[in-house]
Amino acid sequence: MRIPIGDGEEARAPKEEGGSPPRVDLTEQAAKVLVGLAALAVESSVVILRRVSGVPVHDDERAEPEGLGLLAGAALGFVMEAGRAAAAAADVARRTVVPPAAFIAGTFLDAPRRAGQDRAAEWNEEWLTERPDAQAIAGAVLTETIQRAVNAVLDQIDLTQVVLDRVDLDRVIASVDLDKAVERVDLNEVIDHVDIERVIAKLDLAKLSLEVIDQIDLPEIIRASTGTVASESVRVVRMQTIGADRAIAKVVDRLLRRTQDEQPEGPPAPTETDDGS
């Protein structure tokens, strides 16, 4: 008979119980490992005791077991069996308990989860239908809030001063193409919007007129254009008769064979003509 000690016994054990589920194997393996370790410890202790007591060490495995070895082997075998029985019991208990537990868990724990999911779906639907209104309201609130906040901020800040302090206006102006901007402005449209009557009302037209009259000597113009010459037609008749006078005088001079030198030149004053005649 063999003392169930060593790796050989432990290695064979799983094969004998090949049909058992992995969990049982694991339990049993764990038990075997523990027992194996204990057996090793015992065997080592026996060898050490023999060497101390001077008894020669035999490496023969088929040798008769001695009293101490037999006792230890029996103890270990017993432990082994006990572990095996415990593992089997644990397995039976697990098989008995797990399905009902799973059922109970599925019934009492899963139902709330599904209910929760349904409820969430409902809420989601509700949200989708009310989303536009909610978003619009939220947007309005947001806009109003931002406006108020910005206004409140701007009230506290002297923006003009900020610009003057921090902005290089010369550079900004240099980057603006004013000609192009002016080209885009419809000045006629601008003029249509200007209240010219009001501008004129602001001018001191009387003073302006007097200054202009001073510059152009208006009285002289009036004298020159009207004066004693009553009308344009009288002027025309006078000039035409003067022309006729000259034409007749020319004809007469030619008939009388007068030369240009003999004619009274220039505007003959009455006093001179008196002497001449």
Binding site: T228, V229, R238, I242, D245, P264, P267, P270, D274
Partner: protein, 162 residues
Amino acid sequence: MNTTDWPLGTVPAEARDYQGELAGIASRVVANAIDFAVMLAILAALYFGWAAALFLRRGARFHFPTVTYAGAFLAGSLVLVIYFAASWRGTGRTYGDRLLGLRVVKREGALLRAGPAIVRAVLCVLFPLLLFWAVFSRQRRSVQDVLLRTSVVYDWRARTEM
């Protein structure tokens, strides 16, 4: 008297060169024609005024007074003499002269006195054709101008400027 000495503020620029120059026959004939029309208008006014007086005096027996040629000639001549003399003495220009821009002046450009004005008026009314001596005169003077040492000049100025 020279043109350049005259104040010409009211005279149009194109006529300034002629101011003070002796007037030609065309201007004087046109002026006399206008004066003749003025004389006729005065005669007509006198005639109708006389007729109105007769109407008021005679009432139903009123008829327009008959005017003989001699009577009309005399009346017209008298009107013209008074009209010419008063005009030349007063402003140097009749209404015809005024329209044509003429003025009758004696030496130094002064206006005629009453005596020469009346003499000239009588001569002009009695011998109107003597005006045409101005066509041939080098100084554009009629016989009356020669006798009385007067001249007719272009003068567009108002009387206040003289």
